[in-house]
Subunit: 342 residues, 4 copies
């Protein structure tokens, strides 16, 4: 006990998931809850699955309210984090669950998001080579996007081992919570149920440069990603199919061996038994990734498929995992390994 | 009136969809209904959405029962069609909704299905270049697989115009009816709802050689397909994301122009307005395909996304479309253009 | 051909379903399409499942635009129909798909809807005793609410035969399209999927007095309904469980006989074989009702369960059925008997 | 630590949920895992959401394997528990998650289940008046059915306070996991998705006498329940709408006061704020019930609506709650209060 965490954006889906996990975290106490339009209302009106916090009142998102916490999670729309973070001292671990501090390249930021680049923070994906060292003791953390989390975890072992070429193709299906609580017609239940749809096709999705940045760093050479996201009729979960040309000489055995080596000590990334392919239900509500890889010998491509929960490992759980490192706590503290199924 | 159609496999999903459509077909009357294990029962016990046929009794699938019809639809498990068809004369149009007569290459048949190759029948995808002439007057028709229907429709315009290279990557999401009424644990509602899962990954899905066969014919050169199917929490629908390297010099404009030219007279394949991407709900219960294409300039790939209803355009509707051609009827007769939405 | 129908509210779910059915109606041509906030846009932007109408432009809902049609369907929010209808002459059949003209009792209107009562029009449920005569030649039609359609069809045979007492309890599950395209948080896919919820509990739902009005008329005595609606994770469909005290001496046999007698000539209401209970999938997209009834001898109650498609039989199909009568056309014209399943 | 629990039926849905919860229980260690047809296989093949136990081998369900544990959970088909339990000594807490030991009346057992009555064990619903005392120190526990759990929690405060009469009507919607992993056609995803269906209508559902037994005991007078279960397109959750005639003089205020008094110290049953109605999503994966009650003044009925997770509070969580009491542990130990949403 003792350390306190504030959540800005407590009425949204990412905020709710942070609270769900923090309620089970033995070292982080829940402090201030803030939001924009829902300030002044009870948390229970927005997060009825969290009865312990039902009567907590949501405050306005201001530096005054957020100050004095050990950790501040910012689950805000893109473009809102930098201004808040600037008012918080470096004694506070500030965690940006939005996109503002993910991209190192200002030009990529400008192309995909527009506006001024807020700068780059340590990237909160501990599984990437060397990244745990970066995160230990960090006071600013950029939580990866949910899609990049899935794609980087699925492909980094192949690129780190030099087994894949740079022409990556990713198609991912996401549950609707990835789009947040936005009141858009295409997110209505009547539209979503019984239908899978594509969006952001052709290289325009904002997570594309983030995937390229991460894979290029691991590969040591520029990697291009053709990324197509789709929306599936489920609330949670990402299933990403990630393929890349196989390097000459790669075999199914060498590929699996590389993945086994890369992942053998990872607490949250599970390489499934051979022949078993991921389903998002394997990771529902858990901070885990379920991963499988094979070589498509006919087509000469590495094919890795990964399932995560976009709100847990893809957002709130991944954020807390990085915070644990930043605070010097055990990395796995308070993070569920078990999913809820069926 | 006057022409009669028998349906073998009337208690399954493909059989039910054939019946639904034939009930609205002005020139084909429904004759014998047959099945294997459900022979002797009322059709209403299996297809409660077809009240007009509720009291029809299902018979055994024998040549005697099927004989004397103008059209016989075989909606049987793989490997069962050839023996039945051999007993039906060439005055009968025999339509194989299974895989037995799709592949021209016996080696591919052997590799993906095993057992003896039953031979090749005219391929029932009228939209492929020159294929309408093949189907007019045909007495044997091989209905394409549901995934190949989607992929061939999505990519043939690019290959026919020489705008795409042969390294194709396809990831498709299918509704569960594509797996039929099989009593398998992974098809239970409890497992399927709220979850997207991958299967048949790495080049092993049986529809892969069928896609390669069709695209190679259009391209005039061997095309390889890396195909990953996924199961989505919906009963019907396929959304296929199909990408291929862009040929040198291709622009978004030239790509769209090629698709517009290829599809302008197609009654069932709709190129969506620019910026609109397909959703399976657009085609629910309809014999249509909703298609969009763009150039991913960053990654240098053509990206085509297509939605169909796997049971309608992907199976039963596509079958009737080909039968209309075979019988000299208008191609569009009795086939719904409107989907059921939301 | 020859008769033309205008649709006011063409961009909504009821409007879309009217258009889907009218596209298959042999005697009604689609005329003007109007709406409020979506006026000026292409219909295809709102109803992408209706490709034939994709390029039609939606106009403003004004009497000028609607005038000159043989039929005008008003699929407008409550309170908007009366003003429009007042400007349309009695040579036009005006069909109110909203609630404005359903209730005969101004006090009930005042209590449940508030504001001035717009008056009562012929009630568009042809199956009710004597109602076909009322609807033949009518020039104004009040389309029943979707829930009352289901409940009245399920219970009128019992009350008409004097087999049920007036203490009715109804619990119904509806798909989300019943709530329209409203942008409310509780209708988001993320909230709806995987969850059943109650609303309007305790006698407050606006469809309650409409059920009581209809059942009381059939029973010849006041009937009270305790009605609880729930929202289920599906786009379409209502399943209503309707119970009432069994009158003394009622047996399972006499109950079934009464239902068989009442429904034997009904084209759209199917009494299922004994032992088969309704599922909404039986009626998806069809103008049918699937109904079963039994006697709970332990509890002394008649239990009738009914499934309809809330948008088809529950709104647009029921409306067209009544219009067919009003125009002197065959009642079943253009209305689908087959559902889309699975 | 120290106490060990065996699970018989570890490959099923109830078994999986027991394991998920026990993995988070600080005082109960997971011992032997047994099953029938899946004996010999890895648990990971059946419960892929429990990675910590993936490599555990399932054993045959025999007394030898189950002996020596402090607690044995029997998650077996009806009729299998008594024989196993007879071989386990009274030093073991035996928990029957099936129906065998729920009913006190042998005639009711005979009527609804058939075969010999196995006897009655302490009923594992601690919230019922006086029931905690019965469960403390018990060595045999009959876990209530999932539907009775919901109905008894929803109505006991009204009956205990004398505010409701004995003519109860219950309609409940359940997720498909309530039917277990049975390979039945009506449980296939294709059939379930997009559809709500009724079953066991008319007083025949086996949970009916259990509801009557519990309510009659609380009321001190025989209570009759007309119960209609329905299957909803979701994996988990029950929403039960429970109505009963209001006793003379009951007001909304007196009703709410009675519920507040009855539930104020309950850790797992939440009376929602006035005006808020339950959704199953509020309790997904949690051992909680979300409850609301009102008086339908028009119809003169008490209407209580309750949401639970059928696998958690409705089965495995409820079982562990009772085991905590039996073992002298804090009742809430290891049981989640937070649901997983959205």
């Amino acid at each position: 006990m003792g350390m306190r965490a504030a959540i800005a954006g407590a009425s949204g889906y990412a905020g709710g998931e942070l609270l769900r996990l923090l309620l089970g975290h033995p070292e982080l106490e829940i402090g201030a809850l803030t939001a924009a339009s829902s300030a002044g209302s009870r948390l229970g009106a927005h997060q009825p699955h969290l009865p312990q916090l039902a009567d907590r009142i949501i405050e306005d998102t201001t530096a005054d309210v957020l100050a004095g916490h050990d950790v501040v999670f910012l689950a805000l729309p893109h473009g809102h984090s930098a201004a808040v973070a600037a008012q918080l001292g470096t004694e506070t671990v500030v965690v940006d669950c939005g996109a503002d501090h993910r991209l190192a390249d200002p030009a990529a930021w400008q192309e995909f998001y527009g506006g001024e680049h807020a700068g780059t923070w340590p990237y909160g994906l501990p599984e990437l080579p060397g990244q745990r060292d970066v995160l230990r003791g960090a006071t600013r953390i950029a939580v990866p996007g949910c899609y990049p989390t899935s794609v980087l975890l699925a492909l980094f072992p192949a690129f780190a081992a030099g087994l894949a070429g740079p022409d990556v193709v990713v198609v991912a299906a996401s549950g609707t919570s990835g789009a947040g609580k936005s009141l858009k017609p295409n997110l209505l239940g009547s539209e979503v149920m019984g239908s899978v749809s594509a969006y952001g096709v052709g290289g325009g999705h904002r997570h594309t440069p983030e995937m390229e940045q991460g894979l290029s760093a691991v590969a040591g050479t520029p990697v291009r990603v053709s990324f197509t996201p789709t929306l599936a009729p489920m609330s949670r979960g990402i299933l990403a199919t990630c393929t890349a040309p196989a390097a000459p000489g790669v075999t199914k055995e060498s590929l699996r061996a590389a993945y086994e080596a890369a992942l053998k000590d990872e607490p949250f990334v599970r390489l499934l038994p051979e022949g078993v392919w991921p389903a998002t239900a394997m990771t529902y509500g858990a901070n885990t990734a379920a991963l499988q890889v094979t070589l498509d010998e006919r087509a000469g491509r590495v094919v890795a498929v990964i399932a995560i929960d976009n709100l847990t490992k893809g957002t709130a759980g991944g954020a807390i995992q990085s915070v644990n490192l930043a605070l010097g706590l055990p990395e796995e503290l308070g993070l569920p390994l078990t999913g809820v199924a069926p």
